[in-house]
Symmetry: C2
Subunit: 194 residues, 2 copies
Amino acid sequence: MARPRGVERRAEILRATIEVIAERGYRGTTLGAVAERVGLTQQGLLHYFPTKEALLLAVMDERDQWDTGGGSRGADGWRLELLTSMVDYNAMRPGIVQTFSALLGESVTEGHPAGEFFTRRYVQVRGNMAGVLRDEFGDRLPSGLTPEQTAPLLVAVMDGLQYQWLLAPESVDMPEAFRAFVTLLRGGAEGPER
Amino acid sequence: MARPRGVERRAEILRATIEVIAERGYRGTTLGAVAERVGLTQQGLLHYFPTKEALLLAVMDERDQWDTGGGSRGADGWRLELLTSMVDYNAMRPGIVQTFSALLGESVTEGHPAGEFFTRRYVQVRGNMAGVLRDEFGDRLPSGLTPEQTAPLLVAVMDGLQYQWLLAPESVDMPEAFRAFVTLLRGGAEGPER
């Protein structure tokens, strides 16, 4: 009986955290603000998530689960077109993208708990992306590159564009830039010209 | 007389900081460690750089100056091939790349001094990259994209690959991945097939 209630509470805390992130951004998302939102004392919240980092990484993990449909591709995969929609969606939730990007920055510093999370995440995400590319193009892209060679580039473009967009949303159109990258992957809009 | 000495001292501090970064990484690079290396008291160092962030951003700025040959392209530009060499070089200086990546992460958080630096930097870097691409490909890449459409992608790939590489240097070959991206820009190794 205690178990399901704990699981439910945990999910409730994650939902509340996402709301707080959307409203207050990365720095404004304190354990105190989340505890208040969910009707717990800060001590009570610490029972579920011992640190702000642990809470935010759980939110990132949860988001990955949604975005990838339970952590694995469905029977018919999730196509390149769906990635484009995901980037469109991300452009409407700057708080989450900011939180992801800030944590990614911290993850490369010595001994940060986000390091292990992102290291594991990228192994999985590169694998997922290689699967998307194979479903779309087969064993070779129009460029001659393999899905495995291209997957890290696809991930890098998504992550890298987020920084440029967060810093200057009015001059970097993230969804349009990502579409340009997809054009590049396809070998050109109407096939290569020049 | 005081001016040149100050300028010289400042350059000396930046060089010392780069050494400390290489040896101790981002977190280990404290104002105390830099002051000691350069033979100043911490108070003396604060005269030149009031915070660790200010010092590290000055190092990043100095690095950009070197990498771009004084902040502008030379008469014959700096070609795509030179960018590849820069990525090779970066793969040999993980401390600097880690510092850059950590600061970039902080830059997207509210009110961080790195925000203004990176916002300005990316306007310039995207402009430089568009210039590189125009020198190499003219007004259209083989994909049909313009240099201006492609420049943010080029920057994003460089930044994004750095995170993947810092987290798992043994499984992400950053220079090789960047070469794959250049292949993509060129429309394929022997021209597009398939």
